[in-house]
Amino acid sequence: MLRASPKDGAGAGTTRAPDRIFRWLTAGVALLVIGLLGAVAVQLVLGSAPAFNHFGAGFVTGQTWDPSKAVFGALPFIAGTLVTSLLAMLLAIPIGILTAVFLSEMAPRWLAIPLTFTVDLIAAIPSVIVGLWGLGVLSVVLRDQLETPITDGLGGLPFVGGDATGSDLLAASLVLALMVTPTIVAITREVFATVPQSHREAMLGLGGTRWEAIRRVVLPAARSGIIGASILALGRAMGETMAVTMTIGNADQVPSGLFEPAQTIASKIATSWNEASQAVEQQALIGLGLVLMVLSVIMVLTTRVMIRGRAFGRRTEAA
């Protein structure tokens, strides 16, 4: 194998049989992984086809999910998913961006390194543990310190509604915000790092303050990256299952207030899967999975377009 004949040119190595076999092997694995993604899509479509055929668009717009009557409308869960993840983003985007600004642009190295590490570690906590914390700690605090005083004192506020249970839209949104903030911080920092130092220095040299350099130079330059990070985080929030399942209160209704228990697509699948006794309910749950998959693929591809591979990908799986 180690001999090189004079005839072996630059590309000759690839024509040797073992090389060809190795190439085919890696290409085979590549095809397998691509095929796996395709298989996921196909199985979800096939598995939910009966439900979609039967209910049509009503599957997405129906408000009632009642297995005993074989009526399956996913609107409460779609609404729950959208409301919780958007509320979470409302908190996580500003907090995440400002955290990233502090870590990349303001903090001295000795402070930035351990803090960055800490923020990264948050992303590593298994979601079921965040859920247990949300259920056992956060919900109790929310119920006793926030919701009970508000509902007792000011009952009937718009957008609040519901009893003070602590397991509701608010708790789920807070937990989601906590979980996606590290994603936003990590990607935003990567994008900041691509802004040339000289651009900041130009602003400082003109007499600008550090904040003015960040505000007028760094943030505008990083805008598309930040939007991409936010969309990716939104996708994460929509697909998050355990932490939401354990904090949202699991009520199959279109939520009307922050203190109302609700259900997201993912939490509905997790809570009802093992109890689904009839095939038709299972098909409907697979349909929910398909809706979730479509949403998350849209988010991933949008992020890809926004960031164009610049900072994307390197950190996204860890964060």
Binding site: T14, V33, I95, M106, I122, A124, P126, V130, L132, R210
Partner: protein
């Protein structure tokens, strides 16, 4: 980065530059913004502390001899033995399936950088990383549980493996790109075939990095819950080696116990969280601690 305020001592600066109201306002804005960013960063970092404190505090109460030696037998009794043993089987099995596939896919990505198939694979792995794990759980259910009418540890391991493959593939690609082209060229110049160069030279050079990537994927898989609920489902009884039967795991143990109206079971959920969190954090700290200096800035 230097501060934007004057480098001169304050009294001199005040003599030379007449501070206008506008300057003062800008300086104040700068300070307020810095304070706000610091506060947000502290809030983010403290949330880790808040979770850690409760998991450690509550978890220690749930850890005793019973926790490690007994199966889950019902209310007010039993332990997490089945869950610990289950995680120790499902996760390594998933790793054995996922690591070779992920590494080879990563090799393909790095060697065929701009090929059409590589580009498709890159988008596919990106999409799979972003796919909610519960969706993977549904897929494995339809393929490995439904046809056999049996929840099983094997299905659980398959689900975790599918989650791990794209993570390992992406990090492997990244790490292989760091291997200098000259190392590869030197091997090829010696007449070593391409496949041996890839395996014995390039992969070998990047071995530490690839192990790191695999360990991070293991840590991620060890905490995955939703796909296991849909596939391996959980099992109160100890299951050692029977891959075609349901098997418990730490994450599903935490989930099912957390909702029980029983103090001991809830305490054990915290105990299991502590065990799982320790594993995940130790892996992450060990693996990332080395490279943290490079990443920060």
């Amino acid at each position: 980065m230097t501060t934007a305020s004057s480098p001169l001592p304050a009294p001199i600066a005040n003599d030379i530059f007449a501070w206008t109201a506008r300057d003062r306002r800008r300086r104040l804005t700068n300070r307020l913004a810095t304070g706000l960013c610091l506060a947000m960063c502290a809030l983010t970092a403290l949330s880790l502390g808040a979770i850690l404190a409760f998991v450690v505090g509550n978890g220690l109460l749930g850890l005793d001899r019973q926790f490690f030696t007994m199966e889950a037998t019902g209310y007010n009794q039993g332990g997490a033995l089945a869950a610990i043993a289950g995680s120790l089987q499902i996760v390594p099995l998933a790793t054995i399936i996922a690591a070779p596939l992920g590494i080879l896919a990563g090799v393909y990505l790095s060697e065929q950088k701009d090929g059409r198939l590589a580009s498709i694979l890159r988008v596919a792995t990106e999409t799979m990383v972003g796919l909610p794990s519960v969706v993977i759980g549904i897929f494995v259910f339809t393929v490995l549980v439904l046809p056999f009418k049996q929840y099983s540890a094997a299905a659980g391991a398959a689900a975790l493996a599918i989650i791990m493959v794209p993570i390992i593939a992406r990090s492997t690609e990244e790490i292989l790109l760091l291997v200098p082209g000259s190392v590869r060229e030197a091997a090829l110049a010696l007449g070593i075939p391409v496949w041996r160069t890839t395996l014995s030279v390039v992969l070998r050079t990047a071995l530490a990095g690839i192990l790191t990537a695999v360990m991070l994927a293991v840590a991620r898989a060890a905490g995955e819950t939703a796909p296991l609920i849909l596939t391996a489902i959980g099992n109160q009884a100890l299951n050692v080696g029977n891959l075609t039967a349901p098997m418990d795991s730490l994450p599903t143990f935490i989930y099912f116990n957390s909702g029980q109206p029983d103090d001991l079971l809830v305490a054990q959920a915290w105990g299991a969280s502590l065990v799982l969190l320790l594993f995940v954090l130790i892996v992450n700290i060990a693996v990332r601690g080395r490279s943290v200096g490079r990443r920060a800035v």
